[in-house]
Subunit: 177 residues, 2 copies
DNA sequence: TTGACAAGACCGTCCAGCCGGTACAGTAAG
DNA sequence: CTTACTGTACCGGCTGGACGGTCTTGTCAA
């Protein structure tokens, strides 16, 4: 059955993210991922013929998940601005203690170009937000601050306390209007 | 001679940063660094007995350079706030097209704990800034936005145009007061 | 002569990718 | 129903190469 098989891909992707998070981005080997996903190395290589393809799969699923979450946010409270939705979504994402995207470091080590789609996505997102915001300065500040938040989460940095996190988000939302 | 020796360490450190930037963080091998530094592998391992020591050296020199630059900034225009000095310094750092710190990705791959001193440094910096600023919300926004700027530079992201960069910095300086 | 330092051949380990299998579902001819 | 064939999904041992680190040998200043 097609459904059962396709499932395997997602399991592998999730396993890769888990391995990178728990064992460190430098330990993301095909064997580790396969073992974590409950699949043999051959099976892994069947689904992703090359490590590069696996990385690409991670990027794509990351991006589609992100977009989906963003649209869901924007839809559920359709009255707020897109910028506010983005801020809240990112704040929630970063509230989880888990970095959840350490695999990005593995991808960069493999080839920095793997992040190109992510950059493009962000550029596009900023462009969209520009169309809905009048004050460019405020928009840039919010966008960059969120970028900073995501960066700290990615690096598993605990520079900000929970209260500071909340204060930051509410300040950003105020600026976003 | 001590001068000759110490010189070699710096050359190696610089070479490591160059290799990571140009060949990608995944290609930072001892051989590549040695070759780039004009030193044999034996010579490299004499100065840094292990790859981990090399990474540690990179972190330490990065941190000391940063602190030095920060103090220089604060001294040369002693009247502005420490936050403004930090913003300007970071803006200048990030204006250079070169990422210049891609080695961080190699360090993370080697062992995520290598970044611990950097996190501690930032925590300490934020703490110092808190002591000199009255509005915590504004401080957090500026700090995080700068973090975002550094992150984009690190990832070699060109999401912001030069004008946007300038606008962002001036907006931040306005908030910083 | 000696000792700090550099050179590069060498070794053990790790890992991506390859390849020859296995299991099984569907299909179709007898 | 049965047997033979085909394609999909998956398995795991193997290998060739890269890389970190060691070791022996050389060099040069003091």
């Amino acid at each position: 059955m097609r459904a059962r098989r396709a499932n395997s891909r997602e399991k592998i992707l999730a396993a890769a993210a888990d391995v990178a998070r728990e064992a460190g981005p430098g330990s993301l080997s095909l064997e580790a991922v396969a073992s974590r996903a409950g699949v043999s190395k051959g099976g892994l290589l069947y689904n992703f013929p090359t490590k590069a393809k696996l990385m690409q799969g991670l990027v794509e699923s990351y991006l589609s998940d992100f977009q989906e979450a963003l649209e869901a946010r924007a839809a559920e409270a359709g009255h707020e601005s897109a910028l506010s939705a983005y801020i809240k979504l990112s704040a929630d994402d970063c509230e989880r203690p888990k970095p959840s995207a350490s695999w990005m470091f593995s991808a960069i080590a493999e080839d920095p170009d793997f992040l190109t789609p992510i950059k493009a996505f962000k550029r596009q997102l900023l462009e969209r937000l520009k169309g809905e915001t009048d004050d460019l300065g405020s928009l840039l500040i919010c966008f960059l601050a969120i970028e900073g938040l995501r960066s700290m989460n990615l690096f598993d940095s605990d520079v900000l306390s929970a209260e500071e996190h909340k204060l930051l988000v509410s300040s950003l939302l105020k600026i976003a209007g």
